[in-house]
């Protein structure tokens, strides 16, 4: 901690206490969030790595709470006067006393879920350029069709220092490495775009030949089927979702509705269903900060609460919302480590980390497909959206197949699946035993952007609406 506070941010423990004391003039809780993030990127386009750069973001956010009311200000300078000014600005929230007070978190013995075996600061940029070019070659070698390939390699390291009015000091060094590929293939006047990505909280050790193989194989997977794909006839039908990236549906359609702020304000469709059955027994839905190297993992959340594994739904019963400190105090529970923010410029709010459903016991993906007479198999979703109040969601199908009499037949694409979160949850008919966490560059955009991940086993949901011709 000493290294972070004094050497990185130039503030002493005594100064931290002074700033917090200033903030407390306006409320009953004050915390500080110091951040220095160095972000680097390199871009491959037209077979050349001819663009790149780095970006330094530095500052401190000061939050004052008066009950559930928030005052927030930040400074891009960490000299004591600027920080005291920010504390005074945040303290402007002062008013009548709040109805509850934020309390401490409970320390956990969770080991750090990430580390840099090779520091990104030691990156040889020429070697990284060569790696990107090798990735492009690997994609082209797997495919006979002409293609345009763009690949972005980015990496960042964030030094974080948090201090609060309970005199708790926590610090973290968060690495994040990501590679995203957009490949556009042409065949007989038709084009097909593929987006593949991987992102991990780790160091330079992620840059390997095996990652190239993984990305290149996925970029060209079933490409002929995609060229042949068309829109199916729309209607209501059973949908089988592939393991892995389909977890985004879990994130959007269910996870957001479990975030405690939406429930505290009565906005979520689940706000009066705690302790009730929300899906069939045997189904458990988790939000987890402890998966080693996962993009959604955190040693501490952005309020200094230890990262942890939270069961939102256990054996079909709604057991926990996702809490930041404010919501935890409101509900009288321990914070779950979900208080997150995009940067020091934002106050923390309840956010997901890595959200997934545990494996089920209903056989394999083939068993699920085999049980459907007429429906859709979705291999890959793109963006989705949900209305929290109603629970209505829409997801775009990048790639999939018709299911006819238990077999995959015609490839389909460019359609939406729409449904309602609670109804879809209740309509989950079968869950296979093949949970897969997807390590793509998932970013959640609820007011602020934060890195998340998601996963799911193959599932069969009855009765979703598929848009089509």
């Amino acid at each position: 901690m000493k290294n972070n506070s004094e050497e990185v941010f130039g503030v002493t423990p005594e100064q931290l206490r002074t700033i917090v004391a200033e903030g407390l003039k306006g409320g009953d809780w004050c915390d500080l969030y110091f951040e220095q993030t160095v972000y680097n990127d390199m871009l491959l386009r037209d077979s050349s790595v001819a663009s790149g750069g780095f970006h330094l973001d530095y500052g401190c956010g000061v939050r004052v709470l008066n009950g559930e009311k928030t005052g927030y200000a930040y400074s891009e300078s960490t000299d004591i006067q600027s920080l005291l000014d920010a504390a005074r600005a945040a303290g402007a929230v002062a008013g009548k006393p709040g109805s509850f007070k934020v309390g401490p978190s409970i320390p956990t013995a969770t080991p750090p879920p990430y580390a840099m075996r090779q520091d990104w600061a030691d990156a040889d940029k020429k070697r990284l350029s060569e790696w990107l070019l090798k990735l492009e070659t690997a994609i082209r070698s797997r495919c006979i069709y002409p293609s345009k390939i763009i690949a972005l390699l980015s990496w960042s390291t964030s030094n974080i220092l948090m201090y609060n009015s309970l005199d708790e000091t926590t610090g973290d060094t968060r690495p994040l490495g990501s590679v995203s590929v957009t490949a556009i293939f042409s065949k007989d006047g038709r084009t097909e775009q593929r987006n593949v990505s991987r992102s991990y909280r780790c160091g330079l050790e992620m840059i390997t030949d095996s990652l190239i193989d993984e990305l290149a194989s996925e970029a060209v997977k079933d490409l002929d089927d995609s060229f042949a794909a068309s829109r199916p006839k729309g209607g209501r039908m059973p949908v089988v979702m592939a393991a892995g990236a389909s977890g985004i549906l879990l994130h959007e359609a269910m996870g957001h509705a479990f975030e405690a702020d939406f429930n505290r304000k009565g906005q979520s469709i689940f706000s009066d269903r705690m302790g009730q059955r929300v899906c069939k027994s045997g189904i458990s839905i988790i939000d987890d900060a402890t998966i080693p190297g996962s993009r959604g993992s955190l040693l501490y959340d952005d309020e200094g609460v230890p990262g942890q594994k939270t069961y939102m739904v256990h054996d079909g019963i709604l057991t926990s919302y996702l809490h930041d400190r404010i919501c935890a105090a409101y509900y009288g529970v321990v914070p779950t480590g979900n208080g997150r923010r995009e940067s020091f410029r934002y106050n923390p709010i309840p956010r997901m980390r890595t959200t997934y459903m545990e494996s089920g016991s209903d056989g394999t993906l083939q068993d699920l497909i085999g049980s459907v007479r007429k429906g859709i198999y979705v291999d890959k979703f793109a963006n989705g959206e949900v209305k929290i109040g109603e629970g209505d969601f829409t997801f775009y199908v990048n790639r999939g197949y018709l299911i006819e009499n238990g077999r995959l037949t015609r490839p389909v694409k460019d359609v939406n699946i729409i449904g309602n979160g609670p109804r879809a949850l209740a309509d989950i008919e079968a869950v296979a035993g093949d949970l897969k966490i997807d390590d793509g560059t998932w970013t959640c955009g609820k007011e602020q952007s934060v890195a998340v991940s998601c996963g799911i086993p193959s599932v069969l949901i009855n009765n979703l609406t598929v848009g089509g011709e």
Binding site: S75, K125, G234, N416
Partner: protein, 445 residues
């Protein structure tokens, strides 16, 4: 905002870059402040004070290019940062098309940043008490305003903010331009409940560059009316319908066209409008202009991020595609004529006096779309599928709400089937797109 000292510092950074070995450099200095008051159920919930500054540095070194940014604007830190940045650029591959724009294409008229009258001096006089008052006065919750009898207001989240923004751009070829603007914004989201306990949420917002034109008083009730209008929504029968799309969401159908006309998409073959300039692809009724110089409105701009001068132009006229958007780099790569990098203030002119009600009367029967929920457009083909909610209408009158429906099709035939455009644009929106009417749209649900 940006001081003479900071402008001098930016000029010094050009010199640091030159001394470190850069042949050319562009410095973009931005500063902004924002004060925000969020309310929850008629009470102040969050007070936020934001003050940002950033320096973006584009470096051109021995035929190579890199982009960098930093928010620690101290002289020694900047000198070291730029030196390391130049070293980094040297490790990248050469790219002959990475050059600064020709000086004659650049803006020479944005000297003070106030040429477009988008800065309100009254901003400086807004007090913390003013902000609280405006935020609280706009709230419906607890105000005693009459609500529909069958509606319970569960939650109301409002957000008032005022901000100023200042950007200053210089480059090593002598470019110097500046833009300043203020903005006053209010947005609100409500969650309401019907007698059966079903929840519905909706939103509304307004914004203005000037305090005197800023009136958020009806936002909350508008959001409540929109949510109430969805009570009992269910899908309509799948099929082809006339579609009227409300002014609040109509720009969603224009954005994919603008993306497809950008040279980045064209060069990658990721555009359904490759080779489209000079071709009549759309309805006669479809004209889309770029109006970057409208005075007194947020979003108007005299220059783009390269410092290239903007100018009013036709993007689509009478259904014929008139232009692409090609920045300096893409002009080199594609051989296309360089332009500004993107549309600044797209404006779709329609029939004077016509709004969504008039368009529904014109169509007779169809579906009025008032919100989107997810969906996507394939940029290479123009195929789209979007989730929607809105109102079924017959004989020009609303019959009942619809939700959980999709519209599916392709942007080329969709815009060929434009049958009407209103004149009800919202000046507070970034794109000035009015309510629109299309025929033969596939709905499913």
């Amino acid at each position: 905002m940006i001081t003479e000292t900071e402008k001098t510092l930016a000029a010094e950074c050009l010199e640091y870059a030159r001394k470190a070995g850069a042949q050319d450099c562009r410095i973009t200095l931005t500063k902004s402040t924002e004060d925000l008051i969020a309310t929850l159920d008629g009470e102040v919930d969050r007070v936020t004070r934001c003050a940002d500054r950033s320096m973006n540095i584009a470096l051109f070194v021995e035929g190579r290019y890199g982009a960098f940014s930093i928010n620690k604007l101290e002289r020694d830190t900047l000198r070291d940062f730029i030196s390391r940045a130049v070293d980094t650029v040297r490790m990248l591959a050469p790219d002959e098309y990475r050059v600064l724009p020709a000086p004659e294409r650049c803006c020479h008229t944005a000297l003070t940043g106030r040429e477009l009258d988008s800065y309100d001096e009254a901003y400086q006089e807004v007090s913390p008490e003013d902000r609280r008052r405006r935020a609280l006065e706009a709230a419906v919750f607890g105000s005693g305003a009459p609500l529909p009898r069958n509606l319970e207001l569960i939650s109301e989240e409002g957000e008032y903010s005022d901000s100023e923004y200042d950007v200053y751009v210089i480059d090593s070829q002598g470019l110097e331009c500046r833009h300043r603007e203020t903005s006053f914004d209010y947005g609100v989201e409500v969650t309401v409940q019907d007698p059966k306990g079903n929840k519905y949420s909706d939103y509304w917002w307004t914004a203005s560059s000037f305090l005197r034109g800023f009136d958020p008083s009806d936002c909350g009730m508008t959001a409540v009316r929109r949510a109430h209008a969805q009570f009992g929504a269910r899908p309509a029968r799948s099929g082809k319908y006339n579609m009227v799309i409300g002014v609040e969401v109509a720009s969603r159908l224009v954005s994919p066209l603008l993306n497809a006309l950008n040279a980045y998409s064209l060069q990658q073959g990721n555009s359904f409008l490759v080779g489209s300039v000079g071709k009549k692809l759309f309805s006669d009724k479809f004209t889309l202009l770029d109006e970057p110089h409208i005075k007194g409105e947020s979003g108007s701009k005299l220059f783009d991020s390269e410092g290239v001068a903007t100018e009013p132009s036709a993007i689509i006229a009478g259904g014929e595609v008139k232009r692409y958007f090609v920045n300096t780099y893409m002009a080199g790569k594609t051989g296309l004529q360089p332009t500004i990098e993107d549309a600044v203030r797209p404006y779709l002119p329609g029939t004077p006096g016509l709004d969504r009600n008039g368009l529904m009367q014109m169509c007779g029967n169809g579906i009025l779309v008032t919100d989107f929920n997810g969906g996507n457009c394939n940029p290479a083909t123009g195929d789209f599928s979007y989730g929607i909610s809105g109102q079924l209408f017959q004989n020009g009158e609303i019959v009942r709400p619809v939700n959980e429906m999709l519209i599916t099709g392709n942007f080329l035939p969709l815009w060929k089937n434009l049958i009407g455009a209103g004149s009800d644009v919202r000046r507070c929106a970034g794109k000035l797109i009015p309510s629109l009417a299309f025929c033969e749209v596939d709905f499913s649900g």
